[in-house]
Symmetry: C2
Subunit: 267 residues, 2 copies
């Protein structure tokens, strides 16, 4: 089953390394701007179509301007294609009201062929300890209340207790552990993980603060097994109106499949 | 006092956003290739000269090919200059034996003005617990044995015990805590921290493995106070011949000044 994230993130090749796409309003935030993880999904899929190795292993993205539903282009460049690694860049550009195209997101990513090297995984941290997804309280998805932004309808979260910020009572602890699943029932692919790490609400909400991503780097380490993903999110350092946020994603077998770190503005 | 890292990393503006530099052989590895942190230092300094805000707060770098001592150029582009943040890219290019210039390093960085926002630091982790630098066993610097690569002579490390790998006995624990100081006695600047996080030996040496950086992202959070820097390095996840390495850098006041994560090939 091809998930709706892939369907909504895949454009059409319209020229040499250039992909056109109609950005979907189904991945929007409260004010209609598009979720950052969706933007990465779009840019990374266009780049993946150009790079001769199959598996993105690291992607770094700078968020420059808001992206909105509607026409956009991804301009890709393969900057090195080696035997073990290939690296390229992708610029997501969109015209403003003046008709001038501007950079919305700049992404750089390296690809490998994970199957070419035995996994031999060593994980020196443990996955989140969560009850099975089915036993958790869930929120998001199609039955979310009307005020939930469209991107929140695309996924379901499983938690042991609702986060404090959702009831206007920030806990003071900027960390969270939760299950993630796509609402359409599709299983996340390796590439989808670059969306997952920027799909959830920022944990600085538990400090009563909002957040806007400046830069995000994600390591994509393993093809996830089918099923929901166990996520751990934490912010440990705030200074000068900036904070970092680390996310780990573990699959249903308990294998670390992705980890990310972002630098973000406190709002 | 301007440190030798700044002196050896600062080129000359030779055109619109283009800087020329003679890469120094004083920052080399065993085989003469140049240290990755030095490459970042060169690229980031050229970009800093073009960007209208003073303080780099995040830099991400992809390592594409080895860099060697000798002539090179840095091609910079400012991609967005806003009020709070400015973002640009820098390509370190160097001609090969065939005379053709190729990308060695691609860097993207965002800058802010840290002084424009109160620090109000919140650090939810603690700095390494190390005895004072003066009471530590030190290695590196001018009195290092002849087999130590030139970059190892540019800095001094302070440790409570020599790392196992240095005596051919890897400990099996891929983590380390140590003091860092430039051997010339200069204090590290905010920008220098982008070198510091890639200056030390990889901790996978404690697993008996070597390492080659694919991509590194560093957050530069605060101007360091004078004095040595306390560093914590750890690798937690290995799979498919790749590993991550996290580095935290704390200044002599116990303030987190930088943190980095890299993805690297196991050798």
């Amino acid at each position: 089953m091809i998930g709706e994230l892939a369907l909504d993130s895949t454009g059409e090749r319209v020229g040499d390394g250039v992909h056109g796409i109609d950005l979907s309003d189904r991945w929007g935030l409260d004010d209609g701007r598009l979720n950052g993880g969706y933007q990465i999904s779009v840019a990374l899929r266009a780049l993946a179509a150009e790079v001769p190795l199959p598996d993105p292993v690291v992607a770094s993205a700078s968020y420059l301007r808001p992206a909105w539903p509607g026409p956009a282009r991804v301009l890709t460049e393969v900057v090195r294609a080696g035997r073990r690694l290939a690296t390229g860049t992708a610029r997501l550009v969109q015209a403003g009201p003046d008709g001038v195209e501007r950079d919305v997101l700049r992404l750089e990513a390296s690809f490998a062929d994970l199957a070419a090297t035995p996994a031999d995984p060593v994980d020196l941290t443990a996955p989140p300890e969560l009850p099975p997804f089915e036993q958790c309280r869930t929120f998001g998805g199609d039955d979310a209340p009307p005020e939930v932004a469209s991107v929140g309808r695309r996924m379901r979260y499983g938690v042991t207790a609702m986060p404090g910020w959702t009831r206007g009572e920030p806990s003071g602890d900027p960390s969270a552990e939760f299950w993630f699943a796509f609402a359409d029932g599709s299983d996340a692919t390796l590439l989808d993980l670059a969306f997952v790490v920027d799909g959830a609400a920022p944990v600085v909400l538990e400090l009563g603060r909002g957040s806007s991503t400046v830069q995000l780097t994600v390591h994509l380490r393993e093809h996830p097994a089918p099923g929901p993903l166990a996520c751990r999110t934490v912010t440990r350092h705030l200074a000068h109106g900036l904070h970092e946020e680390d996310v780990e994603v573990w699959d249903s077998r308990g294998v670390l499949v992705a980890q990310s770190r972002q630098l973000a503005l406190l709002l």
